[in-house]
Amino acid sequence: MGRKITIEPVTRVEGHGKVTIRLDDAGKVTQSRFHIVEFRGFERFVQGRPYWEAPVLVQRLCGICPVSHHLASAKAMDVVVGAGPGKLTATAEKMRRLMHYGQMLQSHALHFFHLASPDFLLGMDADPAIRNVIGIIALDKDLATRAVLLRKFGQEIILATAGKKIHGTGAVPGGINKNLSPEERDRFLKGPDPLTVDRMIEWSQAAIDLFKGYHGKNKDLVDGFAAFPSNHLSLVRKDGALDFYHGCLRAVDADGRKILNDVDYQDYLEHIGEETKTWSYMKFPYLRDLGKENGWYRVGPLARLNTCDYIPSPLAQKEFEAYKAYTDGKPNNMSLHTHWARLIELLHSAEVIKELLLDKDLQGTKLVKTGRRAPEGVGLVEAPRGTLFHHYRVNADDQITMANLIVSTTNNNEPMNRAVNWVAMNVLSEKTEITEGMLNRVEVAIRAYDPCLSCATHAVGRMPLEVTLVDARGRVIQRKVR
């Protein structure tokens, strides 16, 4: 009797997606899909609104990474007001960078400690009731405390630069609306302890050591789980350095050959296509040079460390060298190594935050610049989950007439599907019983990409995780909700 397994990971504001794995009568996987079941058009919502509202409006997409949307939108509107890349004042650009690296720090810390580390430290077969941050507290209180404080430190950086926790207003078209006071700067540099940037650097390094220790004992799992070759895409700085805030588009294939290099992202439409499929509301982006079939790519930490040539901060660079040596300098295509890459980025973020805090330009008073008005602008940032595209057209009355957003989770649509398929084929197929641990491995595969479904689906959802096993005739055999 054929069966179908459905997993519905849906939470408060993170959208509505599910995984369907179809089995034939022998229990062999015949198809797997990670799909999105709800859609509301955010792009239409911003049409008709004045362009200067966009950086605040876009934060409504979700509560997970509002800063990334805020900055990508502001960068697009910089172009519209004639203050595009390289034209912002030093204070404006560095304040935005501080905001962005604060966001990276808190997001990466949250993801690793809250979502990923329970799978590693408590085991993929652990009871879901304890396979979470509460389980981590019971296991290692110091580690959990660091997780909370890393996250808090990043949030405080965002508050100091964006101005507000909800719907921050820091970035405006052409610049920023505040600088960093010496008091704010000193608080991040000197504390009160342990909320200092030096402590964040120390804890980020410890997190890398934690992962490396786990990796050393579980190489087969970490290296083999959901590993598959892919293309990789991200922004890199003009000189090839890792840069989360600005750069050119670069894409490499699974062997490291450059597919795109030094591409101005204002021209992204010439290089990136988006395919729609009838079974998912989430689009499937691809590199036009390679076509729909072969042009899909990964974005995010794994991709970024595959596309960049080096990391421009000393401690993270040292870790990067060890990370690259593990694959003999070739691109890393192992899904769970995304966590390793994410932690190196966590360390880099902390180092950059310190470098910025020590820069006097943050106390500058030249905040905004404008130039020749343009009818169109594209803004990209490397969000925690990967490359985020914002593209707007604005009419002579200053109204937005077109918006196109490609969010990180959408960029990772095909890779997440491939990762789910790997688990389906290697873990679930031809098994007589589908256990909780097996189903969790599906989540682990998706979790490596840290998806944020509210951005990808533009929807509000409120459903629990639902797992349904259905036979070939559509009858439900097994259903789990959590």
Binding site: V13, G63, I64, L110, I134, V148, H458, P464
Partner: protein, 144 residues
Amino acid sequence: MLVLGIGNPGRRDDGLGAAAAERLKKHRYRGVTCDANYQLNVEDALACAGHDVVVFVDAARGLRKPFTFTPVGAAGTMPAMSHALGPAAVLAVAAGLYGKRPEARLLAIRGHDFSLGEGLTRRAEGNLALALAFLEAFMKGVRS
């Protein structure tokens, strides 16, 4: 006492929690701290641990009444795949990490429209007014 509003004001009535916190904040009640964010997360455990009484304020769907006011206990259950925590999980983190167990309540206020957009609906405004009147009476009792 900590009043912690939760929600996204860019999703119409999902902003009820934030609106409640903002309006209470303007009164500057002695001994009451008001804060709001899109959603709860681990660092909110720190704030909870620093207070004797915590009231989480959130928009709710499917309520038949304008609001409900219910006790919340620490519990480690949390949804899979989510970046956010629920009130019970935040309290569990506060208990686990800091050994603090504040007396906690959830003020759930009925929302009617959660689509993209600005401002609360008229009906949600009415529910908020009733909920705030109730909460202010509760706060008075706590502070006296």
